[in-house]
């Protein structure tokens, strides 16, 4: 499957494997096309998870990850794309319905914008919160002091 995709998309795909788990690094411009192909033609019908990893020292700071599973093939694969700060990435809500909340969580925690998402807003943190906690520059005891002061009426702190 991967060799076929590689032939089709050339240098846009870099298939890799670590500890027996397959994943591929895909050029941002191939999203969502490659994910659509994986679902429609390669039977990856179940989107397990969508998440991100922040590497502040890299030029393209974020890894966006799609973990996919195929019921007919009993196989998992991870697709990874890299984006820079402020760059957005197409939403896959039209491919897998489950992407709705998962993308909202990635947006909430990392501030990654998903183009075409029907209702991209915070999901775990309150709507007015400033900052994205899972970014590496966000401290572990950091809070939105202003939000805490206005909404809870207390000084921020642990």
């Amino acid at each position: 499957m991967i060799t076929q995709l590689k032939r089709q998309y050339g240098s846009g795909i870099e298939p890799l494997s670590y500890l027996g788990q397959n994943y591929m690094i895909v050029d941002r411009s191939l999203i969502p096309e490659i994910l659509q192909v994986l679902r429609d033609e390669e039977q990856f019908d179940y989107c397990v998870d969508i998440t991100a990893v922040h590497y502040p020292k890299r030029e393209k700071q974020f890894d966006v990850l799609w973990i996919l599973y195929s019921f007919p093939r009993n196989e998992r694969i991870r697709v990874k794309a890299m984006i820079a700060e402020g760059e957005s990435i197409p939403s896959v809500t039209s491919i897998w319905g489950t992407a709705n909340w998962l993308e909202r969580e990635a947006f909430d925690m990392f501030g990654i914008k998903f183009d075409g998402h029907p209702d991209l807003k915070r999901i775990l943190l309150p709507d007015g919160w400033k900052g994205h906690p899972l970014r590496k520059d966000y401290g572990i005891i950091e809070q939105d002091k202003e939000w805490v002061q206005i909404n809870l009426g207390i000084e921020s702190g642990q």
Binding site: Y18, V48, D49, S94, G97, T98, P126, P133, I140
Partner: protein, 384 residues
């Protein structure tokens, strides 16, 4: 392109006459502090009379930033935190986490540790299902099952307490195996429990399976098809009740499950009643697994040879297990240091809860309670 709009609806709350006099539509707020939402879940319901037109879940009230905490703790220090996500199935959480880190370290737990893990995890699955059954039945109006299930769940908690000292947040496993050897009489206690609880499950079923009120309140309620389940990423008993025979213990076996003989119970209709039957059957299968494991438990060490300071090589891994609620996955990224660079938890409750909207649309308000119960969510895991 497929049309996924039915999965994506959200409430437009701002565009209406504030007096609500213009139509029969009514927007009401359920929770966050409502006994039937099983925690701090807030659901905004849009109603036409008693019929639900749409819902929106507001979550995050229990958000503690578990994934952020993980980045600031060593691998071993983070282990007890995972118990506090799905706190009614702490052992399963610990199993998933330990196995994910073990994979990243490229070590394997010794066979004896794997068997201990299977026994405790399956006991925990029964405890989780018992708690689900008791509270779910209580929501629908049957009080008796709650007392029965809590009485019997107590026996499981006693075994946990004797094994590791804790009843709920057990921290039963360590990376590389188990910290504690089984106590004297562990096998006897487990066997005694199996003999004790087998007739009790029949007793629960006697109370409910043919009970007319129960059947009326659950049959055809909150129906979800197999296609919708897969599109929404719903896993666990909810998926199986819709007819998909898929269980990670069979599909991608972990621990010692490949050596166990058990069935995957499934339903056909994908309604609340079928989910009830599937979970009841799962409890029996868990008892089967426990009896086999306790007979076959090998001798030997319980801890693999791992370094005192855990420094997994640079890399990333995704590992998931079949938790009582569905697929519980851990995605761990290591940068070669003593702390995870990134740790993502794929929580089954969070993903399953997304199906609530589709399941209750067109149903009655009272059925929303039944559907929240049947999804078997734990808000500690939804919000993390």
């Amino acid at each position: 392109m497929t049309d996924n709009s039915k999965y994506l609806s959200h409430l437009e709350l701002g565009e209406r006459d504030e007096t609500f006099l213009d139509s029969n539509e009514l927007i009401i707020n359920m929770g966050p502090q409502h006994p039937a939402t099983h925690g701090v879940l807030r659901v905004i319901l849009k109603l036409d009379g008693e019929k639900v037109l749409g819902t929106e879940c507001v979550i995050g009230y229990l958000h503690r930033g578990v994934e952020k905490i993980a980045e600031n703790r060593t691998y071993a220090m983070f282990n007890p935190y995972v118990d506090r996500m799905d706190y009614v199935a702490a052992v399963s959480n610990g199993l998933g986490y330990c196995e994910a880190v073990e994979k990243l370290l490229n070590v394997e737990a010794p066979p004896r540790a794997k068997y201990i893990r299977v026994i405790l995890t399956e006991l925990n699955r029964i405890a989780s299902h018992q708690l689900w059954l008791g509270t779910h039945a209580l929501d629908i109006g049957a009080i008796t099952p709650l007392f029965y299930t809590f009485r019997d769940r107590e026996e499981i908690l006693k075994i946990f307490e004797k094994y590791c000292g804790a009843r709920l947040t057990t921290h039963a496993f360590r990376i590389g195996g188990c910290q504690y050897e089984t106590y004297d009489g562990f096998e006897r206690d487990v066997k005694k429990f199996v003999d004790f609880v087998t007739p009790k499950i029949d007793e629960y079923e006697e109370l409910l399976t043919t009970n007319r009120i129960w059947v009326e309140r659950t049959k055809g309620v909150g129906t979800i098809s197999d296609k919708d389940c897969i599109a929404l990423g719903v896993t666990g008993p909810v998926l199986r009740a819709s007819g998909v025979k898929w269980d990670i213990r069979k599909a991608l076996p972990y621990a010692a499950y490949s050596e166990m003989d058990f069935e995957i119970p499934t339903g056909q209709n994908g309604d609340t009643y079928d989910r009830y039957l599937v979970r009841m059957a799962e409890m029996r299968q868990s008892l089967r697994i426990i009896s086999q494991a306790v007979e076959k438990i090998p001798e030997g060490p319980i801890m693999a040879k791992i370094p005192k300071v855990l420094k997994p090589p640079v890399g990333e891994i995704y590992h998931s297990i079949e938790a009582p609620k569905g697929e519980l996955g851990y995605f761990v990224v290591s940068d070669g240091s003593t702390q995870p660079y990134r740790l993502r938890v794929r929580p089954p409750s969070f993903v399953n809860l997304q199906a609530l909207d589709l399941m209750v649309r067109g149903q009655l308000v009272a059925d929303v309670i039944a559907v929240i119960g049947t999804l078997d969510i734990v808000l500690g895991e939804v919000d993390r």
